[in-house]
Amino acid sequence: MVDTSWAAIAVAVPLLAALASLWPGRWTAVAVMAVAVPGALLATLGVVWTVYEIGVYRHPVGGWGAPLGIDLYVDGLAAAFLALLAVVAGLASLHVLADPDVKAMPRRRQSLFWSLWYWVWGALAAMFVSGDAFNIYVTLELATLAGVILVSFGHGAVALFASLRYLLIGTLGALSYVLGVALLYGATGTLDLVLLGERLVPGPAVVVAAALVTVGLAIKAALVPLHIWLPPAHGSAPAGVSAILSALVVKAGFYLLVRYWLGPFVSLGDGVATALGILGAVGVLWGSLNAIRQERLKLLVAYSTVAQVGYLFLLFPLAAAGGHVMAWSGAHLLVLSHATAKAAAFLAAGNILTSQGTDHLSEIGRASHHHRLSLLAFGLAGATLMGLPPSGGFLAKWLMVTAAVETGQWWWAAVLIIGGKLAAIYVYRVVRLGFVTSPMEPPGAAGPPRPPGLLPVPMLTILAALGLAVVSVGLGFASAPPLRLLQIGMPAAPGIALEPLP
């Protein structure tokens, strides 16, 4: 069971699925999923197990080893993100499988959709285990390109506009990143992230390189003010696609920023950490206020992503000030719980949109009974977004606020708490709809009949949303294993001796 190859297999499984999906057969999607989802889960389990057993490890691709070759680099963080990927993408796959919108496509088009779906999956898996700066660029482009095309599967011209905007801005980000990598290579002669950290000497080239890398990745992470591409893209894509884009692809940008700023760039000063924190705080407020203003459910959820990503960036100033372990645990627990919650919220929103043909908030209340399970999933996910128990989001915020208190930076605590209250407002705007008594649904002992004009919602799509919501809530209780995993290979903060937690 202990084998560094698991990391390679975790990448290969979705890629094999992406290839197999190209066969436009009637049962291809089901068959591929029946193999790929368990396979990916198994491989992820192997990765996690191995990292538990032997700690941080590398898998030298081609047997060369860094710096000449490319290494897969797996620590607790990478393993945790892989696990998140397998769970979220796995459950979202179930949703896509039953999604009437997807089923309505011609079979050939469906098979292309599925292939792209697994491409995003594979690209993210490759990104999470990559230890090489340029390899990360390739995975970034893979994920962006596949994601862009998936967005274009959404309805109408808005999806096309959103898709192109996402492509242009995403490519700008990737090229900014690669320019930074070029300068870094010029300064250090290596692309391996760990070696890079050892050889990095602050100077003009390195500072500008760090800025380019950071801007490039911040675009991918939708850090304010580089977030403008996100709401239209996530708001107009098919539900499953929005779910993995918001839950995973955006997090990938944050993941890489953590890799860099708590890795090779850590010596470049705390000023950047504070700046990232401030932008994150602005994102929390800006995203939340916009989410409150939205009239369409999917856009509300999309803006909520902008806000939630903002929280994550508080990790940098908190870690820099010494609230390292708490902030690290809190921020990454927030990644895990927000990703599951956000995927659930998008899937729930998608169910409503597909069934009713609109996701305007004013319309949803007309059929609250019909949507009750989707709204329940949304409500459960909402608990995490608000940071209320019982949910992983609550525990994560507890940890992050503790870090802020311990380091005497009460203003970050204020951001976390105010953000939570703003989230309560926009979550409330949706959840209350679940309780509206509607004239369209006359009450009866047997439950109201489905109002005319509404399509039935497949049970599988509801179960996928509920499943993800339950995971995000469950993370509030089963948080010990992921937190222990995240500690493996946790980077040390500058000047701070790390005390492993009990």
Partner: protein
């Protein structure tokens, strides 16, 4: 049997889960599965009571029940059963059972019952979780969970008015939750995990006094919202738009008591009475409680809607508990804890009766009670017993708690408490006696004006038996207060064991 008792931490866990799992199942039942849903409801409720009694028995035999779930990063979820926890668990579980019977009858034929009973079960899960919480983090988790689980019940009717009340409810309770959260995290950030152990967490603290006071008021402020203390009581009267069983169990017992119970934990288990008794903390809290007692009573007089009047009465009565807690003497603490149970029994009776009146004769206003004593003698008798208890007339249980509170005031040198209690009792009488008078001693209106709704026989019984049981219990708790199984005796035991250990041979 011993094997069952020696299950360690799993017994408190199963107490919490017994209602949680039934609640989850109920969510997925179809509306028309009445029998299945009722069986699940009652089964879960009976199981919870049985487990609670088992837990009590085990504790009495000297078993220790602590369940620790590590959450990582040094945080733990702890459930444990100390005598205080047991008291609240048994109160919640017992009244949940009674209310479940009532609610099944009350909601017969109405829509969205699976949703209702699902959330209803979750609420009780949260309140038993609050009771059994072994540290501050666990308490906060269940406390906030209770907020979220109650909201759907408040807005159950889905009318504009209900949604508005739900909004008010959320604004107050989430605001309170925020204060509690800040206080709890701040405290934990300073001293590490706050465990409700034998020694108060802050017993030997060297934190600056200002910080201690600030944290005290943050947490107490958060708790005061649910305990409906002035000036953060506003949500409770508006929340009366909820169905009667919700008002009965949650707004008389589970939710509001969670706040009061939390205050007791804060004063006795976190700060310790030696520290919390300071004028800036306990002293001020006692004043605030007194103000609430008087204010709630005054507002109750002004309300003629029965449920609203009962709600303001709750506002007032709850602060007895806060008052007893804050005074900081053994007798006052006994009074507070006894009142925790007594008030629950009496107030739930009143709400049951009010709900039955509304269901059968569509009576919502005090003036409409005329002649009800003759039309519904049993219901009105239960109502009368509970109301007299609220006023504090012996031999109903309310007298006992007021008596101990008064003694506690004298014992701690706060003689003014006596004045507050007397004033409050007069005011209680002023708003409870008129409806009693109207009901028993005025002539009923002509038949034509009052249409008795015809309900199925079992529904009638389901609405009638619960208030009779709770009223009897309130009476018995007062009559037999000297017996070792009475709520008073239990309160004395808690206080003697944990908070004011008696030197010498002890209890």
């Amino acid at each position: 049997m011993t094997a069952l008792l020696a299950t360690g931490g799993w017994l408190p866990v199963s107490v919490v889960l017994s209602s949680f799992l039934t609640g989850i199942f109920i969510f997925f039942l179809r509306e028309e599965d009445v029998l299945m849903r009722s069986l699940l409801n009652l089964g879960g409720a009976v199981l919870k009571v049985a487990l609670g009694i088992l837990l009590l028995w085990g504790v009495a035999q000297g078993f220790v029940y602590t369940f620790v779930l590590p959450l990582g990063a040094g945080l733990d979820l702890i459930l444990f059963a100390d005598p205080l926890a047991l008291q609240f668990v048994l109160l919640s579980a017992g009244l949940w059972l009674v209310t479940t019977v009532y609610a099944i009858a009350f909601l017969e034929g109405s829509p969205e019952r699976s949703r209702f009973f699902g959330y209803f079960s979750l609420c009780v899960t949260a309140s038993t979780g609050i009771a059994l919480a072994g540290n501050l983090l666990t308490f906060v988790i269940f406390y906030e969970f209770l907020t979220l689980a109650t909201y759907p019940l408040v807005v159950h009717h889905g009318t504009r008015e209900a949604l508005k009340a739900g909004r008010t409810y959320l604004i107050y309770t989430l605001g309170g939750g925020m204060l509690l959260f800040i206080g709890a995290v701040w405290l934990q950030g300073l001293i590490g995990p706050v465990v409700f152990g034998p020694v108060p967490a802050l017993a030997e603290t060297d934190l600056p006094r200002g910080v201690l006071i600030a944290i005290f008021w943050l947490i107490a402020g958060g708790l005061a919202v649910k305990a409906a203390m002035v000036p953060v009581h506003g949500w409770l009267p508006t929340a009366m738009v909820a169905p009667a069983p919700v008002s009965a169990l949650l707004h008389a017992v589970a939710v509001v008591k969670a706040g009061a119970f939390g205050l007791f934990r804060l004063v006795y288990d976190v700060y310790g009475i030696a520290l919390a008794g300071a004028p800036a903390m306990g002293g001020l809290l006692a004043m605030l409680a007194s103000v609430t007692i008087v204010y709630g009573s005054l507002r109750a007089i002004a309300e003629s809607d029965i449920k609203k009047r009962l709600a303001y009465s709750t506002v007032s009565q709850l602060s007895y508990i806060a008052l007893g807690t804050a005074l900081g003497g053994p007798l006052a603490a006994v009074g507070a804890l006894a009142h925790l149970v007594h008030q629950g029994l009496m107030k739930i009776t009143l709400f049951f009766c009010a709900g039955r009146l509304a269901e059968t004769y569509d009576i919502h206003n005090v003036h409409e009670l005329a002649g009800m004593g003759r039309r519904m003698p049993v219901t009105m008798t239960a109502f009368t017993v509970a109301a007299l208890g609220m006023i504090g007339l012996p031999p109903v249980a309310g007298f006992v708690s007021k008596w101990y509170l008064a003694l506690g005031g004298l014992q701690t040198g706060n003689d003014w408490v006596l004045a507050v209690l007397v004033l409050s009792s007069v005011l209680n009488a002023a708003y409870f006696l008129p409806p009693l008078y109207v009901a028993w001693f005025t002539a009923p209106p002509p038949e034509a004006r009052l249409q008795r709704r015809i309900l199925p026989g079992w529904v009638e019984w389901g609405l009638l038996v619960p208030p009779v049981i709770t009223a009897s219990l309130a009476l018995v708790a007062g009559l037999l207060a000297a017996l070792p199984i009475s709520p008073l005796a239990w309160a004395e035991l808690i206080v003697a064991l944990r908070y004011f250990p008696v030197t010498g041979d002890g209890p």
